[in-house]
């Protein structure tokens, strides 16, 4: 029997997630419809430069699409009694979670790429390298964040996790400089915004579209990468700690 690497096996898990979860109602609502309507609400009655609107659109798309799939996968699997089969196969829990993370990442990547074509039609001047690196690092950070979101509480009720993750997502949305630039926030709010990975995506996209930004682009990249690693490691650790509770 051929020995496949854990990453290769995690791809099989990601593929399974794509086939099962991409068209689930909550994913479509939270990942596609919601950011669309939220952006529409933001747009109406404002006369903002196209490049600024592009940053808002891309930030919300990247954030909402990459966090739509992940939080519910494990609770859903626990509920439909497929989780035990998965973790009793010759893959570690880390590999399972890496697969789930990839499912979130690819969903975010596909939708973000499609939506970014808006920039082409609006003839927005974009630094492609900064844009690409920022989006990829942010997708990694947000999809890792979903692993953390699904770790606690160890429930088999997807709606519980959806509620909690929505609460976190909306909080991050309002503190991350999307609607109000960081430079215009009061000092205490700036400190809070620095705790959000979304802040660094918005800032990096401002660099990419030649709008004044708050941090250096390298700071944005390093911190997005830091959040991606932190969320994944912490998420895996908590999942391992609560694994037993899923069978009690």
């Amino acid at each position: 029997m051929r020995k496949l690497s854990p990453f290769y096996r995690s791809l099989a898990i990601a593929k399974k997630d794509m086939l099962i979860f991409y068209l689930k109602g909550p994913v479509v609502i939270m990942g596609l419809l919601f950011p669309f309507f939220l952006f529409g609400a933001f747009l109406i009655g404002r006369h903002l430069p196209h490049s600024y609107l592009f940053v808002v659109l891309m930030s919300m798309t990247t954030f909402f699409t990459s966090t739509a799939v992940g939080p519910t996968i494990i609770p859903w699997e626990a509920r439909s009694k497929t989780f035990e089969r998965l973790i009793s196969s010759p893959v570690s829990l880390t590999t399972v979670l890496l697969g789930d993370m990839q499912a979130s990442f690819y969903f975010g990547l596909i939708i973000t790429l499609l939506v970014s074509s808006v920039g082409f039609f609006l003839k927005i001047h974009v630094n492609f390298a900064i844009f690409s690196i920022a989006v990829i690092l942010a997708l990694l950070a947000f999809s890792s964040m979903t692993i953390l979101m699904s770790s606690y509480p160890p429930t088999d009720i997807p709606a519980d996790v959806m509620m909690l993750s929505s609460l976190i997502k909306f909080t991050l949305l309002f503190i991350s400089g999307i609607f109000v630039p960081i430079s215009k926030l009061p000092p205490y709010a700036r400190w809070v915004s620095m705790l959000s990975p979304l802040t660094y995506l918005v800032d990096a996209l401002r660099h990419a579209t030649y709008i004044s930004a708050f941090f250096s682009v390298y700071t944005d990249f390093v911190l997005l990468l830091f959040f991606a690693i932190l969320f994944f490691v912490l998420g895996v650790y908590i999942h391992q700690q609560v694994l037993e509770k899923r069978f009690m």
């Binding site: 439909s80 009793s88 196969s89």
Partner: protein
């Protein structure tokens, strides 16, 4: 002497303060079907989850293929097929997609997965449904697919947790036939069940677990012998008459019959004949009821409650 595939030493598991498994030890030999019997909540599923490395033991040690399970769970799982209790295939995937997923998780090549999957779908009478979503399958079909998924990597050891529970007769028969044929191919099978008939039919040895402790472990036949004290001699007289003190065994009256519980069937029959002569009554029926494995199981469980 056959090699021991599973060795369990003084295994304990606590959920908080609750002891689910209270220090069990046993071994399973290569090529045998080992039945793990017990009522619901006895600790069977917790034990199988520890044996497969899903749960960590609180105390004790488990060796599978001579390797410590806690340190080598992935290496061991490469050689093991598992059908967890109530573990469903993915209902939003087709039977073939479920098998492909399992094959990939076991590191199998695409071609190998396809060939083996088609053969298993044929064996499990699911070939015509291979591209249908599992959502449309009956419980029996899902369970057959579940076993096919476990057999896909051709494992040396199978852990089956209640594989025939709640199934239709056809599916249960098919699964039992496959267990027998897998054993004939040299596979070792650890079978969790509360179905005495399955254990009697399939297992070389059985362990009876109750309240987290093993209360008996032997071949089904030996366990039945252990249950000699549970023999019942059923007799009816005409006219009906009874004198409970006359018999050495414990007498229970059921309608117009006496059920005499005895360890010594020969002596009890002699007593019945003597009683009929003395009372000048006729013996109408006389049956010796040997206890089934189920009767013995119930008695052992009651004694250890």
């Amino acid at each position: 002497m056959p090699e021991e595939v599973i060795r369990v030493y003084d295994l304990k598991k606590y959920y908080g303060d609750f002891p689910a498994v209270k220090g069990i030890s046993f071994s399973v030999k290569k090529g045998e079907v080992f039945g793990f019997l017990g009522p619901n909540g006895a600790g069977k599923t917790t034990t199988i989850r520890m044996l497969t490395g899903i749960l960590e033991p609180s105390e004790g040690r488990i060796e599978v293929f001579g390797m410590d399970v806690t340190k080598n769970k992935l290496k061991i799982r490469e050689r093991v097929g598992i059908v967890p209790e109530m573990a469903n295939p993915y209902i939003d995937l087709s039977a073939m997609q479920n098998l492909f997923l399992m094959g990939r998780l076991y590191g199998m090549k695409k071609r190998e997965i396809k060939e083996r999957s088609l053969s298993l779908l044929e064996t499990f009478k699911l070939y015509n449904k291979k591209d249908q979503k599992v959502r449309t399958f009956s419980k029996g079909m899902k369970q057959r697919l579940s076993l096919a998924m476990a057999l896909l990597p051709d494992p040396e050891l199978l852990f089956l947790d209640e594989p025939t529970s709640g199934l239709d007769v056809m599916s249960a028969r098919l699964i039992k036939d496959i267990i027998i044929s897998e054993q004939q191919r040299g596979k070792t099978i650890f079978l969790n069940t509360h179905n005495m008939q399955d254990a009697n039919e399939l297992c070389n040895r059985v362990a009876i677990i109750n309240h987290g402790k093993i209360v008996a472990i032997d071949t089904p036949e030996k366990i039945k012998e252990l249950g000699a004290k549970y023999n019942v001699v059923e007799v009816s007289f005409s006219p009906f008459k009874v004198n409970e003190d006359f018999f050495s065994g414990k007498v229970k009256i059921s309608g117009n019959k006496l059920n005499i519980h005895t360890e010594d069937v020969h002596r009890t029959i002699e007593e019945i004949v003597e009683f009929a002569r003395r009372e000048k009554i006729k013996i109408v029926t006389l049956n010796v009821k040997k206890p089934s494995l189920e009767d013995i199981f119930m008695e052992i469980v009651k004694e250890n409650a």
